[in-house]
């Protein structure tokens, strides 16, 4: 039997989902992070606790939410609180083990930009802005970043630091409760901060991806770990759970329309 076929988005979600451990408390952004976190909950980490910034805590949606405030998230939650409380009593107080973020840009020190491309005063592209990200990046115990790998998104320096990784100079995390990005998962590779320099370094490649492809998709001179590993390909079970989730999601949202 050959390995099952999968897309680059699927392997990204599956690898990300493998990072979560049972019982961890995870603050989830919408989109790719939500997909990966729910996949973890439905597979390897059934007792992961998912928190969305809409105030839904310990939620177990049957289908993926389209927005951060879908009714499903409230109905399936252990508790629902206001937005001021979710940030103050739950995130800021250090109750979140893992923050799951995406962004438009990331730089070599794991700083994230979701504010503007170009200058702030006269932006080329005005992006949505900070949302919950700056405080997730600051206060979650660690941060997992998911981002499609392109030269436009992996840049030498982000145009705007919306959320701090290790700072513009890699200088560290002083004053932050959490320890910052622990891993960046893309559709090509896995990057981790170098323990000393904190520069994002390729530590893993997805099957069939070579180092040059990753370097060509990165806007800085990318460091590569000596002990580079090849990602375990998605198992049939992982793929079945992910696809089932996405099918249920599509059906549910179509039925609602």
């Amino acid at each position: 039997m050959g390995e099952p076929a999968y897309t680059t988005d699927e392997i990204m979600s599956i690898v990300a989902s493998r990072q979560l451990r049972d019982g961890q408390v995870c603050f989830v952004g919408i989109g790719l992070p939500s997909e990966a976190a729910n996949l973890a909950r439905l597979s390897s980490a059934p007792d992961v606790v998912l928190i969305y910034e809409s105030g839904t805590i310990g939620t177990k949606p049957d289908v993926l939410p389209l927005s951060i405030g879908d009714g499903e998230l409230a109905e399936q939650a252990e508790l629902v609180v206001g937005v001021p409380e979710v940030f103050a009593y739950w995130l800021q107080a250090g109750r979140v083990d893992v923050g799951f973020l995406s962004a438009a840009q990331i730089d070599r020190f794991g700083n994230l930009n979701s504010t503007v491309i170009g200058s702030y005063e006269k932006p080329g592209v005005r992006l949505p802005g900070a949302g919950g990200a700056p405080e997730i990046a600051s206060s979650a115990g660690e941060v997992i970043v998911m981002l499609r790998h392109t030269k436009r998104s992996f840049v030498e320096e982000v145009d705007f630091v919306t959320s701090v990784g290790f700072g513009r100079d890699g200088g560290g995390r002083e004053g932050h409760l959490g320890s910052g990005p622990s891993i960046v998962i893309t559709d090509l590779a896995v990057l981790e901060p170098d323990p000393k320099t904190r520069e994002l370094t390729v530590t893993g490649l997805h099957p069939g991806v070579d180092v040059d492809t990753v370097r060509d998709s990165t806007g800085w001179n990318l460091a590569v770990a000596d002990d580079l590993v090849i990602t375990e390909p998605p198992t049939g079970e992982e793929l079945a759970i992910l696809r089932g989730l996405k099918e249920r999601t599509a059906a549910a949202h179509a039925a609602q329309a």
Binding site: I30, E53, S54, G55, T56, L66, S67, I68, G69, D70, G71, L73, A74, E75, A77, L79, V80, V81, G82, V83, P84, F87, A88, L91, Q92, T115, Y120, P123, G124, V125, R126, P128, G129, A130, G131, G132, A133, P134, E135, S138, S139, F160, V161, T162, S163, V164, G167, G175, H176, L177, H253, Q256, A257
Partner: protein
């Protein structure tokens, strides 16, 4: 004191040109019908306050109601950009738009401070970001530990508008599900308008996280069923995801946007809007466009 009134009278009475206005609702319970009425009444020079501007502020900004936007995340949730907001920021169309942006945590702290009668809120936030120098935030030192934290100024809108599931006959408001920042921003405001799905004898929650705003904290209550469309009202309506997708098409194009607003907002009242929704015609321009 919880006066029942029509939506048009309420907007006319409470919202004035130049006012600082918050139409709140975190994905859930967004007061769209009230926003449409603000547009119909051609209110100008408003400071629009909201964590997530969403389609409602895209419409108000595109129609030239706003002088300034105070916000923390300006996207079309699950879809992409708010093109009218972007056009205002990137190209000053239909006019310049001053922006003051925060994080959600910062905005929530500002609202809580406003509701608490304090001039500022404190949080661990902004540290190390480029937001810190671009927005209204200051460092403050803990007098006990010497630690440095962020202070953000309270927000107290001239008018807050929210949509809720129920009012009882005395004007007490019942709200449940994802309640976002609505209690705080209602309690922070100088005047409060609530549009509701239903008027009931006694408040009857049909979901989690039930909260009450007593009638005496509310200035006007308007009965506007489905008034949160295309967002949703738990227990009454579901989110109209295709509408949000359609909005991406409409709002990308200035003239298509103008035509759509003329056809579905300016030339009709909210019942007319709902009729166009129910017969499917509201989606036509996007498919033809």
């Amino acid at each position: 004191m919880g006066q029942f009134t029509s939506l048009s009278d309420a907007i006319s009475d409470l919202v004035y040109d130049g006012a600082a206005v918050a139409l709140e609702g975190f994905t859930h319970l967004i007061p769209f019908a009230a926003g449409h009425e603000v547009i119909r009444q051609s209110k100008k020079e408003l400071t629009l306050i909201r964590l997530t501007p969403d389609v409602i502020y895209d419409q108000m900004i595109g129609m030239g109601c706003a002088r300034k936007l105070v916000f923390s995340w300006g996207g079309n949730p699950g879809v992409g950009s708010l093109h009218r907001l972007r056009d205002a920021v990137e190209n000053a169309h239909p006019g310049p738009l001053e922006i003051e942006e925060h994080s959600h945590a910062g905005m929530a702290a500002r609202y809580s401070a406003g509701a608490s009668g304090l001039p500022f809120g404190v949080l661990r936030g902004y540290l190390g970001t480029d937001l810190e120098e671009r927005t209204n935030v200051a460092r403050i030192e803990c007098p006990f530990t010497g630690e440095s934290l962020s202070a953000v100024p309270a927000i107290n809108p001239d008018v807050t508008v929210i949509h809720a599931q129920q009012a009882d006959r005395k004007g007490n408001i019942g709200i449940w599900g994802i309640t976002g920042v609505q209690r705080e921003i209602a309690l922070a405001a100088r005047a409060v308008l609530v549009t509701v799905e239903e008027i009931v004898d006694d408040l009857q929650p049909r979901g989690p996280n039930f909260a009450v705003l007593p009638a005496w904290t509310v200035d006007a209550v308007a009965h506007v069923p489905r008034g949160s469309h295309p967002s949703y009202s738990m227990g009454y309506t579901t989110r109209d995801n295709p509408f949000y997708t359609m909005w991406d098409v409409i709002s990308r194009d200035r003239s298509l946007f103008d035509d759509w607003m003329k056809e579905y907002i300016l030339s009709r009242d909210f019942d007319g809007y709902l009729a166009a929704l129910d017969d499917g015609s509201i989606l036509e321009m996007a498919s033809n466009g």
